[in-house]
Symmetry: C3
């Protein structure tokens, strides 16, 4: 890897030194690394939102990219730091489920997960509250600098895999899902995948979110009737609930995690 790519996805925000300090640590160890910010605005402690963001972005990165994912409410506790290989890419993260949607999106056979224990690659003294700086960033950087994955720790198979993103069947024609993520425009990204629910495109459907019922599907934002809640085929592969040039989230009073019901006849 001549110019290895290291991406950053965190809930650190950008008003503190946290993200910049991680980049400093990386450049000290792997000067040739190309650091790419995905987002530092994952809502604080929001493992589900972080899981969605990294899974969406990672699939477009070049092979062998290294993804640092630090949404880590359990920092300093017994939760393990892990290094995962999946789909030809690397992920360095706490073992709290934040990689669940990455594993879902990629071929399972390609998934190898290690418990990071090789503390010779950690910063010393090791703080109990900023493992992004002291563990995750240096491990990603040493990996980028050529240290083989096996040097960081032993393979494990009991890492946490959450399935919050899978809708449950709750009636003959009914599935209960949720809002995976609210984007900047106030679009609600639901967890109903288009490839799992193709009849949304063809047949009649009903989506219930907040106190509203959505029954229309548009191909894009401008096809939606102004001011009207509409479902669209989202660029992420999931059904989204949107209003053209307005915030569906505000209209519905829904946040990330809110329930969404799908009825197919």
């Amino acid at each position: 890897m001549r110019h290895p790519v290291i991406s950053l996805t965190t809930d650190f925000g950008t008003s503190d030194h946290y993200a910049g300090t991680m980049k400093a640590v990386i450049l000290g160890i792997a000067p040739a690394a190309r650091i790419v910010d995905i987002s530092h605005e994952v809502p604080p402690y929001a493992i589900h939102d972080g899981a969605y963001v990294i899974a969406q972005a990672a699939r477009f990165f070049p092979p062998k990219s290294i993804h640092l994912v630090v949404v880590d409410p359990g920092v300093g506790s017994a939760r393990r730091p892990i290094l995962a290989e999946a789909g030809g890419q690397f992920f360095v993260a706490p073992d709290n489920g934040v990689l669940s949607m990455v594993f879902e999106a990629l071929p399972p056979a390609s998934e190898k997960v290690r418990h990071i224990t090789a503390d010779r690659y950690f910063l010393q003294p090791l703080s109990q509250t900023f493992h992004g700086r002291d563990i995750f960033a240096p491990v990603a950087a040493h990996l980028a600098a050529g240290v083989p994955p096996s040097r960081f720790g032993k393979r494990i198979s009991d890492h946490l895999r959450l399935d919050f993103f899978r809708p449950r069947r709750t009636g003959k024609h009914v599935w209960t899902g949720l809002v995976l993520h609210i984007d900047r425009f106030g679009n609600l990204i639901t967890n109903f995948r288009l490839d799992e629910f193709p009849s949304i495109v063809t047949g009649p459907f009903e989506l219930n979110a907040g106190l509203e019922k959505i029954t229309k599907l548009a191909a894009n934002f401008t096809e939606a009737i102004p001011g009207e809640l509409t479902a669209i085929l989202g660029s992420s592969g999931y059904v989204e609930i949107v209003i053209n040039k307005d915030s569906a989230a505000r209209r519905l009073g829904c946040g990330s995690g809110a329930p969404v019901e799908l009825i197919l006849y």
Copy 2:
């Protein structure tokens, strides 16, 4: 171009994967590209603000820089994607007027605009809602990687040129302009260019914005009387309305696009 510069200006915010995914697509096609964020915080759908931001930043970039400008409320509709060469730089954007102030700032003879139609450079399947990822980023990246501009589509001359940024004369001594942009400090950048209205510096003037009249000009913020609305000669070449260490926008209740009247005696 050994290390081509690709700048990003969008209304995507940074809480989603959108900007990161565009960077991933770019690095997959043009690994040596140097990606520079100008802003992802253009207000949602705000073509005028985006037009101001890219025009201000672009003029300081090195020759042959490639600017990706994605403020695109019409994504998926008939609006065209365009590739413009202007002032020795490249701009990849929707044809919705977001490049109007770039064209204004640079010599017109140097302006060449193409309708991007070469879908072999697009990501497939092409979404209807995220052309930043599927069209604009890959086109910019292929351009950075050496594909000549002519390969992306035919020259056009009917691209959209807005003139919202030009004050209109509305009386013998009166011009009606507007607020181009509110910056982070609450300074109002008006569309009165210093080189077009040099008598602001020498003679008496009156600027009316919100419910207030501004008649004083200061050379910089610290020269302004604390707490008092003052005009300054902005670093962008436009007159700004400011309060030293306070927000003029909040005081005036003005937002981007608000009318500003200039009276010169």
Copy 3:
């Protein structure tokens, strides 16, 4: 320096062209520079917050890194632009105290400060309101491109050193300090250094902030009792006041600069 690192710390926010324009200027002068954003979200004009952020991040950067620090409420006034060498790194900033905590953190013998006067390295025409673009960025870039520090101006020793970050003893057992910074999570970083007040760890203590008294110390966030204000040993080397998964700043109604009293028995 084959790929010199230039970091950026400003109060410019990211909704304007300001940060992007500084990067453009840098790349025009030093094409090989590696630009790293530390933060552009220092609160407007907040020299103390800026001083904290750059001091925390800088100590993790590689030797010879160049740090641009532009929190500059006095832009255009008589305040001097300075170039400081400290701890093997370079700092380009206004002489308003924003480097005070950098000087504090690094060995004093290594500190060399110059008044930047060599206007051949400035952008022309020089604005009175955006020295980030016209002075600080080009100076940092020329330094990165190999211009020796001595070329930018003469050594000075009367640069501004603030000591706002030092607690004062205000009673036999009492020290009065302040909140250095509120981070994204609402944690209060106080100015009580762990190495100066080691008895916080061993003995009983009392921290008074807002209307609350904090007497418990936890090793990390997850050890804190949910919903309870707790002191922790922060990753920055300072005592922090936190609530596990909640905002201590909101609970206490404290902002950056608020007083904090420490009582040790």
